[in-house]
């Protein structure tokens, strides 16, 4: 706030906080909703690693996620003005990401049915790991491809992101009971499939012997 005692017609002007990057979620949300040009950048710095990670872990490390990442942030910035006072930004960003992912997974499923899917899950697309790990990841995401979008998202959020069941339900806009049911369905199918998969068994054996990174 700035006041000018030298002029007879002083004005009070609200200035954005010079430390928006350090501001709490509520302040950042208010700034974004008010159109503060710095808010989008701060939001990106704060949440893009988490959102990108969630996108990659859900779709697979070989998936092209930068376009989806942009979509998540554009949607989030549109919806921020409707965020209740005091709401946390992290669950909000996860919920927006889940919505974008849900649409993408459904499109991906259709592309698979039409045999138009991109080769996301080829081991060649996974870099930075040994061959055994790349094969295991490739096998895992082929297994996840067999789940419907809701079950896959429930599995990802619980096992890869560590969300509690209530957080998971909130992110998926579902009741706790329904979220539990989706997760149980996904757990059973993934467990059964990885048990039968030779690539994943090889990875698990190597890891138990300390050969995997």
């Amino acid at each position: 706030m700035v006041s000018s005692p030298q002029t007879s017609r002083a004005r009070l002007v609200a200035l954005p906080s010079p430390t928006l990057a350090q501001a709490d979620d509520a302040t950042l949300a208010r700034a974004a909703a008010a159109g503060d040009p710095r808010a989008a950048g701060v939001l990106w710095d704060r949440f893009s690693p988490m959102v990108r990670r969630l996108l990659r872990r859900t779709l697979g490390p070989g998936a092209e996620v930068e376009g989806l990442l942009q979509e998540v942030f554009l949607r989030a910035l549109q919806k921020l003005s409707g965020l209740p006072e005091g709401a946390q930004l992290k669950p909000f960003m996860i919920a927006v990401t889940v919505r974008v992912l849900s649409g993408e997974l459904k499109r991906h499923r259709v592309r698979r049915l039409l045999r138009l899917q991109s080769p996301w899950h080829s081991a060649d697309f996974f870099t930075g790991a040994d061959v055994t790990t790349r094969s295991a990841l490739s096998a895992l995401y082929r297994i996840l491809d067999e789940l419907d979008a809701d079950a896959r998202l429930a599995f990802t959020l619980r096992h890869f992101e560590g969300l509690q069941i209530t957080e998971l339900a909130s992110a998926m806009d579902a009741s706790v009971t329904r979220a539990k049911r989706r997760l149980a369905r996904a757990n059973a199918r993934v467990q059964a499939a990885v048990s039968r998969d030779s690539s994943f068994s090889a990875y698990a054996t190597a890891a138990s012997l300390g050969d995997a990174p």
């Binding site: 893009s48 990670r53 996108l55 942009q70 757990n187 994943f200 890891a207």
Partner: protein, 261 residues
Amino acid sequence: MSLGESDSPTLADVEAVVRENVSGHVDGDHHEQGKQRLLSALQHRRPRPSRIWQRGVLGGVLLALAVSGGAYAWKQRSGARLGYNVTGGLLSESGYVRSTGPSGARLAFSDGTEVDLQDGARARIAAVDAHGARLAIENGHAALNIAHLPGAAWYVDAGPFVIQVTGTQFDVDWSSYDDTLSVDLHDGSLIVSGPPAPAGVLLRAGQRLTAHEGRLSIEALEPAMQVAETPLPEPPDPAAPPLEAEAAVPADSAEPTVVSP
């Protein structure tokens, strides 16, 4: 990393392989490029209409559809009565029409229907609504050309007979002097009912119906044949559907035929 007792992979292995190998980290340049792309998209994004405005527009469209649908339904149900005018004749306040010249009178309705009354013929407009009218031929010859429109409903009374029309072209001749009805149907179909056929007789294009003294016969219009005077059987059940004259009398038949139930 853990293995179950049977050395088969567990969900903990699944969690571990992903958490250890799939992250959201990118280098600084990549991160900045993404941010600039977002900021650029925000700058060039067209302002979206507010939700309230969108709802207002949607509500307006729905309201307009509802109003127009309601108006259409109301028009269909109750619509404005057909208009009509008379040329070559006189029209009384009670709807009585009489020709005043040798060329007869023409009754023209707003839906395109035309009724030509021959010189000396008399008719009455008994009722008019949005879908048609009820005309009574008091005496003489009338040529009718009924507009074939959806929902059209026209009736022509001739003495004790009623002709139900949906869209067609026909001539009616009713003689109140000797109670003789003649209907020549040129196009479409119609149902004629009266004392000889309470349930009605279905007449098709190219047929002539003649009723006189409790006898009713149907014959082909071309070539014109003399009407046979054959007694009708017992009248059919009034609740029964109209008789199919076509079944008894092919349109190209030259033989006069009596309709039987």
